[in-house]
Symmetry: D2
Subunit: 356 residues, 4 copies
Amino acid sequence: MNTFGHLFRLTSFGESHGRGIGGIIDGCPAGLEIDVELIQQDLSRRRPGQSKITTQRKEPDQVEFLSGIFEGKTQGTPIAFAVWNKDQHSNDYNDLKDVYRPSHADYTYIQKYGTRDHRGGGRSSARETIARVVAGAIAKQILAKAGVHIQAFVSQVGEVQLNKSYLELDLTKTEENIVRCPDPEIAEEMIARIVLAGKEHDTVGGVITAVATGVPAGWGEPVFNKLHADLGFAMLGINAVKGFEYGSGFEGTKLSGSEHNDIFVKTENGIRTKTNNSGGIQGGISNGEDIYFKVAFKPIATLLKEQKTVDRANEETTINPKGRHDPCVLPRAVPIVEAMAALVLVDHYLLNKTNM
Amino acid sequence: MNTFGHLFRLTSFGESHGRGIGGIIDGCPAGLEIDVELIQQDLSRRRPGQSKITTQRKEPDQVEFLSGIFEGKTQGTPIAFAVWNKDQHSNDYNDLKDVYRPSHADYTYIQKYGTRDHRGGGRSSARETIARVVAGAIAKQILAKAGVHIQAFVSQVGEVQLNKSYLELDLTKTEENIVRCPDPEIAEEMIARIVLAGKEHDTVGGVITAVATGVPAGWGEPVFNKLHADLGFAMLGINAVKGFEYGSGFEGTKLSGSEHNDIFVKTENGIRTKTNNSGGIQGGISNGEDIYFKVAFKPIATLLKEQKTVDRANEETTINPKGRHDPCVLPRAVPIVEAMAALVLVDHYLLNKTNM
Amino acid sequence: MNTFGHLFRLTSFGESHGRGIGGIIDGCPAGLEIDVELIQQDLSRRRPGQSKITTQRKEPDQVEFLSGIFEGKTQGTPIAFAVWNKDQHSNDYNDLKDVYRPSHADYTYIQKYGTRDHRGGGRSSARETIARVVAGAIAKQILAKAGVHIQAFVSQVGEVQLNKSYLELDLTKTEENIVRCPDPEIAEEMIARIVLAGKEHDTVGGVITAVATGVPAGWGEPVFNKLHADLGFAMLGINAVKGFEYGSGFEGTKLSGSEHNDIFVKTENGIRTKTNNSGGIQGGISNGEDIYFKVAFKPIATLLKEQKTVDRANEETTINPKGRHDPCVLPRAVPIVEAMAALVLVDHYLLNKTNM
Amino acid sequence: MNTFGHLFRLTSFGESHGRGIGGIIDGCPAGLEIDVELIQQDLSRRRPGQSKITTQRKEPDQVEFLSGIFEGKTQGTPIAFAVWNKDQHSNDYNDLKDVYRPSHADYTYIQKYGTRDHRGGGRSSARETIARVVAGAIAKQILAKAGVHIQAFVSQVGEVQLNKSYLELDLTKTEENIVRCPDPEIAEEMIARIVLAGKEHDTVGGVITAVATGVPAGWGEPVFNKLHADLGFAMLGINAVKGFEYGSGFEGTKLSGSEHNDIFVKTENGIRTKTNNSGGIQGGISNGEDIYFKVAFKPIATLLKEQKTVDRANEETTINPKGRHDPCVLPRAVPIVEAMAALVLVDHYLLNKTNM
């Protein structure tokens, strides 16, 4: 299904090489002044062609609002928007029309729907995340008023890992390099790794870490819509994501309970926890500490290498794609992770208004 | 919120020390003969006191159906059920009434709701998962008719890891030992680790792996309700879960795309993939291969050790719980993981009926 | 589907002659002190056997709460409840097991589900409305705190009509007679009409009018969840309801716009309308005036008369039911109408909290 | 909220004088060949300026599809569409910017949202129904394949009533006159009544009757989503609607049960009912007979007459609108009623696939 959220709902539409990508945001509170520039900034962080380590396809990605904003303010009515597609070169994809590319959605879409728009991946293209970035950028503006800020960064590319807690890093440096890693030295290693993958006509995966600060205690709706469950759901819905963990995550499973428990302490700022293995969420509800989590991205499937496969006629065949490709999706996925986190948080911000 | 699922919906209720735990299943197809014995089997796999490595509290956990089943068959109407609580010893919890136990939901529930049923964790108790196990056991029966089977097992306890693919294991051996690990040798190590934790009045975490076989190609609803996104959401909603990964997961982020891609091959059983890094899901839709995933559980927070904390009056205090505790929740969580997977899969089985 | 509401959600369960009728209320704000006596009052207003003009079957209808209330207060967690069935005399229905009673749901349930619990109508019995009355009685308690009160009354029985606006009536007199009509003279006529129907072993339909006072301007969620659309949906979901109108309703279609428009006037109590053809709702949103509407009930289908019909074997047959029947459901439906209105209003009360 | 439907979901957007009106249809089955001409036909039936008895504003209303259709077929992905606004003359509305027009949504939108797009009614304009007509026209195409057809017609204008059952009428004549009444003589009277209202700068209300044929037994989801409850909800969500009844409706409340019951009979076409007071729905589920219902429309609020009112500054004032107006919305509302009925029916068609 193509609607995300309970009260702040994004319904998205669009294919890679159709008329455009867009969506409708329903449930956005009225009276919010929209800063379009901030939305365009996130679209620019997501778009291809922004640096030497991303695909060189040019997509200007200008958002147009179609409803719901009047005299610069939200009206409480549905906010429709679109980013129109340009320069699609649909014919580039004719060769792949009837071929199931390995680890893409070609085969499964045909199995499910009996048909598919093959051009550039159609609906399964990561270009669809444009709608999420636009809606997330609006959600961020609501959250900013509530004192909540989200920052994501690349913490792993292939085997190159940033082995530091986010607390040891200066996250404001994230945007200072093209890979979006706040540690300049590791960033250089990551960039080199991606350049290598590009030269090899191959791709490389990695991990994005995200931190949300300023979330007050009380957000989250147990037992099923625990705050981290909704965050995980949001992240796993992003193309190429294979895993999600929050707080101590998979590593924390090796600790004993007495090591893992976060002791409550009394501070001048109220009750806090001494450590934060909980990742800011206890019993599915935010506890006022930073919320942090990691998202695993596989190396994306589009390679410029010869690969065996099967086609719609059930015949074995070989593909050997040419042209441009994106050796690593991680830098461009940073704003997508932030956007999805913002959608979840603003939803729980609104949900929590109805609990007392 | 306390409803799970889109078409096959479980709404759950109940607190640890209230009248009981139960739920309503809405959307269960009519005409299904219910095998109550299979449901009780899963409840027994979940219940405390079943072996020396789980808490010794006795909870017989007998399900009573309140509606929706007539002459042994589902009627298409809501199936309500309850497992009535017994022997609750509510007074045992009086000491903890106004104390925020570390890494429990005590503090966050008070922050969110301004009130809480403190007895045994109330709504935040893992006893709530009884409702999921009952509903999941019914979902399993529907899936079995469709040829789908789910098997979970413990693949890590603390540092003790089962470093084998599920393909190298005989999963039918899972229930042959009390820790529910299909490798008898590793199982012994795991049991020893849990016994040690118990002796130390401490707890230990770990990982559960699950495999679903027989899922045909075509289940999953992009772009948001990708099959793995719904599975991740389901798993992250289970108490103490900190992470989820499917297919190649976090490890797969280190591979290059050419290593990671699953090549399509033509077989006598139709189109298959040579490897299965995709975990049976491509573009959010099942591709006919086995679906497998891992779920990380933190060491649970209830220890029999002295710990500092803060109380509702904002005063620092110390707790030192006595009695019985559960050193490792993993063996009992195996049927819960299966249940939640079954709920997701049956939901997508029904959803997929409406796509063509 | 068996869940009603967006934020304040009732999921109901139960069959006429099963274990009981009940439900789960999810989304009820925390900290509400529940007055069980008020709930029982509404159950008593709904139950059979309360007067000479209703069926003489005795159903004590005592509610038991199963979760979500602790020390008398709601906890923000799901409130499960049940009214256990008693004295069901299930065998009374054996004769009707395979017969399609005219204008009942027997035939359609079999067509839809392939099976049905035939005892007393099973799930299609009006006994199911018990769950609505309990949930509605809780909703009323929340609304009362917000200054909102709902009063329904019988305004027509067969051809006997109360041709007065609710403004000309003293609604506090509604409960002073057994037919629940606030006009004592018309009430006598209505009672006589029902007694006659009873003697004839027949039934009679009618109309219930309801008024909600104290609803502030701003409730309602256009374009689809207009306040009156949700009210109509709620009313049409009650057994035997055939129509709904609000404000000027069907009669208002005969007026010209200049007669129908409600002129705004400035008063000491703020902006009001001079007339209220709008029924307190404009553009789907409450405007602060009284909300009023009418609900049409057909004469119920259970007669003690011989009727031709067809059975499950597709053979023509004749039924001739004996025993007790309910000549007019209207007096007992008054609390059901109020309950459903309360569920809608409390839902919009919560929804409106998220709009600004 | 701006999403309609459970499985076949329309999310609509747009204001009267914004960029356009449109929506996203999610859940439309894949592989459907879309006949755009049929969609344009319904848009033309809805648009202003089509005859002397509707407003003379010209709105060409050409639909553009933005996604979800490839090579003329639906893809199972979201179908976005828009009808772009033209010639909006937004400045015409400057005088009404701060005035609460009687019986419009001006006052309630300001009360709810604190802001509104005043141009032509903004979101509350009936122009929003364009999205419903487009989605409904697609729903009709799915239903047609299932043998289901919907026909609505005008059965009352002011006091001019068509006092015949739809069975006595030749519904194919509905489109032969500009008022869309299948009885030519009554149609003339209705047209005269509307012309009179236009001359008087006033408006007139009325009733639309709709019939759905070919619905098989089994559609409808008790207890809350009874087929008629979803139909009523859909109709009451249309601008200016004040009432809904199906089958015998309000008049049927005057019958006794023995008169009202529909006797089952055995026919060569299976089990049928002798009469159809049930309106094709029993227990909330279709029984295979024709489904028919009536929808009451108030006279619309926009008059070309002087009227007293109050403005945003809380001051009494007078409005005296000039220009064109629509004396009777009924003829143009016929396709809207059909569209909403189609959305409900296709939704239940899909829902019913999941019940067995």
